[in-house]
């Protein structure tokens, strides 16, 4: 017999509003008269925050097992290694 009433769904609309707000903030930040470095750091922070919200709530990672969460982040260190290593060709 199928369960008709589930445990409550996460607050998807709340997440949506959060994403919309963050996007608006990004648009503002991009054109503020601050130093380029500050703007870039802020924008990256905002983008990562939005991405995390999509991953945690829409993709349900917040409610999955540790195993799946570790799986999901596994490629990120590799990606970072590649980019950082090659950047040393130009930055160092």
């Amino acid at each position: 017999m199928a369960q008709a009433a589930h445990a409550k769904h996460p607050n998807y609309v709340g997440v949506f509003i959060g994403l919309a707000v963050l996007t608006g903030v990004e648009l503002m930040v991009a054109f503020l008269p601050w130093s380029k470095t500050t703007i870039i750091l802020l924008l990256i922070l905002l983008a990562v925050w939005k991405a995390l919200m999509v991953a945690l709530y829409f993709m349900h990672l917040r409610f999955e097992s540790n195993r799946l969460r570790i799986l999901a982040v596994a490629p990120l260190p590799l990606a970072a290694i590649m980019v950082v290593a090659v950047l040393t060709e130009y930055v160092w």
Partner: protein, 203 residues
């Protein structure tokens, strides 16, 4: 948040197997596939970062060439489609066939609009002489957004297939695998765009 499915449901790990990932095969498979997609976009986005560091002068100020207002709307649309997708998923879990279908159709429509607007944007840019051959800026812009758009298009096509199945009543609270799996792909595509919009248009 685990929603209990009936014992013996295909969405529970197989009884006759050693303990694996704790999720059904198709979900595990999609997550694993998404890992390869992360690496694919790493190659493109990573190259962009590296090329930009090596030659920052080749990049104009944000908004000078690209149409930020239109793309901001497009970004908002894609986020909306993620919401409609997750609402479809929630209704599949709850067994509300009517709402499932509505949310899925909305996702298809919004997703298709995203591609349409992007195509329109490309048209405008090309008309103004901004091409893939327009230096490093053009090379990276078209490649990154183009392949993202390609992934969205593939997603829309798969979404149409899932929607058609939904209209035939193939998803029940005991088996809504297809909805969950296409949802994961769709959210991933949205996630990549969140990154792309920021670094391609705003930085």
């Amino acid at each position: 948040m685990t929603h209990a499915v009936t014992e013996g449901s295909v969405m529970l790990p197989a009884a006759e197997a050693e303990q694996g990932a704790g999720v059904y095969n198709e979900k595990l498979g999609m997550w694993i596939f998404l890992l390869s997609e992360v690496m694919f976009f790493t190659a493109l986005i990573g190259s962009y970062i590296i090329l930009r560091f090596s030659n920052p002068a080749a990049w104009p100020a944000p908004g000078a060439v690209l149409n930020i207002p239109v793309t901001a709307v497009n970004t908002f649309l894609l986020i909306c489609s993620s919401v409609t997708m997750v609402k479809a998923f929630a209704n599949a879990q709850d067994g509300d066939q009517r709402m499932l279908r509505i949310w899925l159709v909305l996702t298809v429509l919004i997703g298709a609009s995203f591609v349409g607007i992007q195509a329109f944007e490309y048209n405008q840019l090309i008309g103004h002489g901004f091409l893939p051959s327009s230096g490093l800026y053009g090379s990276t812009f078209y490649t990154m957004t183009g392949f993202h758009g390609f992934h969205v298009t593939m997603g829309v096509l798969c979404m149409i297939y899932v929607t058609a199945k939904a209209f035939r009543g193939r998803y029940t609270p005991d088996d809504y695998r297809g909805v969950e799996v296409i949802g994961l792909y769709w959210h991933f595509v949205d996630l990549v765009w969140i990154i792309l919009f920021t670094i391609v248009y705003l930085i």
